[in-house]
Symmetry: C4
Subunit: 291 residues, 4 copies
Amino acid sequence: MARATLDETTSNSGLEAAIESTWFRNLITSLIIINAIILGVLTYSEFMSPPTVKTLQMLDHAITLAFVLEISLKLIVYRFDFFRSGWNWFDFIVVGISLVPGGVAFSVLRALRVLRVLRLLHVVPMMKRITEALLKALPGMGAIVAVLSLLTYVYAVMATNMYGNSTNEEVQQLFGDLPRSAFSLFQVMTMDGWRFEVVQKVIDDGHPWAPLFFLTFIFVASFAVLNLFIALVVDALAAEQKAATTDLLEDIEEDVEHAEEERDEILALLASLRSEMAELRAAVQENRARD
Amino acid sequence: MARATLDETTSNSGLEAAIESTWFRNLITSLIIINAIILGVLTYSEFMSPPTVKTLQMLDHAITLAFVLEISLKLIVYRFDFFRSGWNWFDFIVVGISLVPGGVAFSVLRALRVLRVLRLLHVVPMMKRITEALLKALPGMGAIVAVLSLLTYVYAVMATNMYGNSTNEEVQQLFGDLPRSAFSLFQVMTMDGWRFEVVQKVIDDGHPWAPLFFLTFIFVASFAVLNLFIALVVDALAAEQKAATTDLLEDIEEDVEHAEEERDEILALLASLRSEMAELRAAVQENRARD
Amino acid sequence: MARATLDETTSNSGLEAAIESTWFRNLITSLIIINAIILGVLTYSEFMSPPTVKTLQMLDHAITLAFVLEISLKLIVYRFDFFRSGWNWFDFIVVGISLVPGGVAFSVLRALRVLRVLRLLHVVPMMKRITEALLKALPGMGAIVAVLSLLTYVYAVMATNMYGNSTNEEVQQLFGDLPRSAFSLFQVMTMDGWRFEVVQKVIDDGHPWAPLFFLTFIFVASFAVLNLFIALVVDALAAEQKAATTDLLEDIEEDVEHAEEERDEILALLASLRSEMAELRAAVQENRARD
Amino acid sequence: MARATLDETTSNSGLEAAIESTWFRNLITSLIIINAIILGVLTYSEFMSPPTVKTLQMLDHAITLAFVLEISLKLIVYRFDFFRSGWNWFDFIVVGISLVPGGVAFSVLRALRVLRVLRLLHVVPMMKRITEALLKALPGMGAIVAVLSLLTYVYAVMATNMYGNSTNEEVQQLFGDLPRSAFSLFQVMTMDGWRFEVVQKVIDDGHPWAPLFFLTFIFVASFAVLNLFIALVVDALAAEQKAATTDLLEDIEEDVEHAEEERDEILALLASLRSEMAELRAAVQENRARD
């Protein structure tokens, strides 16, 4: 990330060095881990004395303040460049969530506070490597995921039209509207209780040919998922083996080129040798003519 | 696809250019997507005012007419060559389904109207690539799928004969006749509730050795599916790595051949050097003889 | 398979040619397929008129006789060599099963008659290739299967000792004795309803630490199965890529050896050229001395 | 493992040779297998006569003593080096467990006695190879397992906070506290009854957006597990193919270097040829000058 204007170079560079230093990263890592433990312990707040709970909550708020301070420092040093990094956006959002005043209406937001612990995924170098490798594999999946989504949508519309007007409560829960159909079809794709919890209910509701409908979906979806997996394996392997054999092959390529140079040298030497030989013969023949 | 007879070249070529143009394809793509949304919204027709539903249905019919027009244009331009492409057959069928007059008896056909949205799989270039790649992988599966089907058929006949005459209603539902046995065996192959929903019912119905029957089926079927998967991975990888290392190896192969040509040049030069030497020797000996 | 003694060469060779001919194999293939259909139709014997059932049963017996005749012919031609082929043993057994007189006590054996349809797996050449490829992959699995079996046995003994004395009927069904424990642990390995149908029952029976027991089993067994799969993939790929790149590399290896021969030729030529040069110099110097 | 001090060389070497000999290993293997069978039979102790049970228990104790003796011998021979090998620690612990006096309070420890049968995993050479190969693959999983654990912990805290205060008994069982939430989320990760046994219960308890929560978990966790698997496949394959092509490529590399040496030889010969030529020319010119 580029620095701010040169005017603030002096004070900023000191701040920047501090922010990018290892001790600072270790400090943040420790705070995140302590925060993770506190949030875990707080799930038992019913069984702890109110003072203990209060103390833990205050520690949690203190750490939240520390994170806000951390992000503020980064904003000061990097200014708008701060928002260039996806990881900074992630930090900004998960810490921001914690600043929303807590009230009953916001209990979900309060539950989302623990998402800040996921910061470990990019603060700890080893985890950052893995996470970025995982994220890099996502685009390769994009096309097949699009095909699977289209397939699921089409089957969901068909299922809702065919089975969605049932009086049977269970079938209504499965295919009553479009989102429910999509969810049930995803359940079938994961093969989780597909036969008796989904298909059999539809069969028993007066659709004896339902197995045909769901079996075609299972076959096509499983085949697409299988190929998705194979595409990922092939991509990973292709990159790996290119690196593996390339070194040795490039050495050989170098030697082969070097050999060509040497042979050119030999040809040149032979050619000059031949012309010298020709001159010599001329000289000898001259000698003879002289005599 | 080849053109029609040269007589209609002029008018057809204008039409053909229009049909194969990008704007036309984008138009069709947009119509399919709009149609997909309309069909999705229509699943909520119970909750919408009749005028809204009527409007959406009219839009749907309009788009259907547009697709019929599209196919007619293609038939005019390509004539019988239209039916050479599998994708055209697909379009022909899914649009044809929509033309069947809707009645209660045809509610399934009405539900199948949404299949036309799958046209996106070959109209959008990116999806077309993926879909055709998926279809290309099918033949490789053919043999193992045949083996699995044979195995399932044989086990289904055995299961129907052994367990199909049960008085127990649940066992009847599982193995009462051949199709039900095949379906239940497929369920066992997907390991979906195989132990308590299928095998335990048969055991409790007075067949204590049933686990042996189903375990052998699970082992053989799983092993076959595993090998099916491995065959697909190996096919995909073999093609990939052939491409990867072949380039570099072919460069080396070229260099090696080039080296051979150069060495032949060297040998030729040496040969001429040798004959020059011979002539020189002759000249020197002549000199000597003279003296 | 080697022939019988030379004495019977004449009559046998005609018979052997017939047995190994394509028309004979097609005949047998057709009989197996017809038999498969008959056995499938016979599962509906409750719904067919007795004469129809009788006819089908007679056709089945006729085909059984045909198979007995086929095997007898093979025994005559190949004698004891007949038993060298595993496939012949398979045919011998599955046809032999059909000869056991049917009685209520033998209803299972009667159900096993359909196993003869699996003969298609080695009679149809395409299926024979696949089946033999599948069988070849078995040994590679042997070691990990042994490890998994040992693990399951040990955990089964532990589970029977810890949970097998329960008064709870469901837990008794799961872990009451060693075979039941092994079966339930296999169910857990396939992750089929492991949480609520197996583990939760044990937890609710007064074993709060049961999750620890089953989770360790799941982790270790899944890890072993995963590595089993990877070993199979690697074996298949290693064989594949050896074949793929070896050709090109062996061509290069040949060229490199040929290049070496040529260079030896060049060296020899150069050496003889040099000695000729030396002789020439001697001759010239002699010339000089003469003068 | 290094020997003890040289002073005890004589007696120890005889003992060491005995311990490391094949017959000793076969003896131990046999004892472990017999012990395995005894422990398996003892699970049926309810159905056997007390004398039989007593005999089997005495045999079990005798074998335990044999193992204690075996370990003692190893301790005498290797002393503290005994504890250098992980497998020796394993033996030490599993045999040590058996020495704990059995009492009702220690019924779990008594059940753990059968763990000694797992000694086969390192005593039988074939199993030792497989087991050590499996253990070698563990580190490669470490990073992704850490990411998955972090993810599960964070989601478990969220789930406990959002759903853990339910009055519904089933939801309490699923997400009542942190360990239960983690267990339920692991169940969802294995896709075992996730839809109706977990997610539907939460939806019906008044959380209509629960599918969003669990679907994101399923997608991220499945994606991570998929990549874990791919990483293992790629590691195994990379090692395999490096070995496969490296041999042939190294042969080619050698030939290429050898070719370079030969060309240097050729260049040297050419150089000497050139100087010979120069001397010859000098001699011829001298000849001419003389005349």
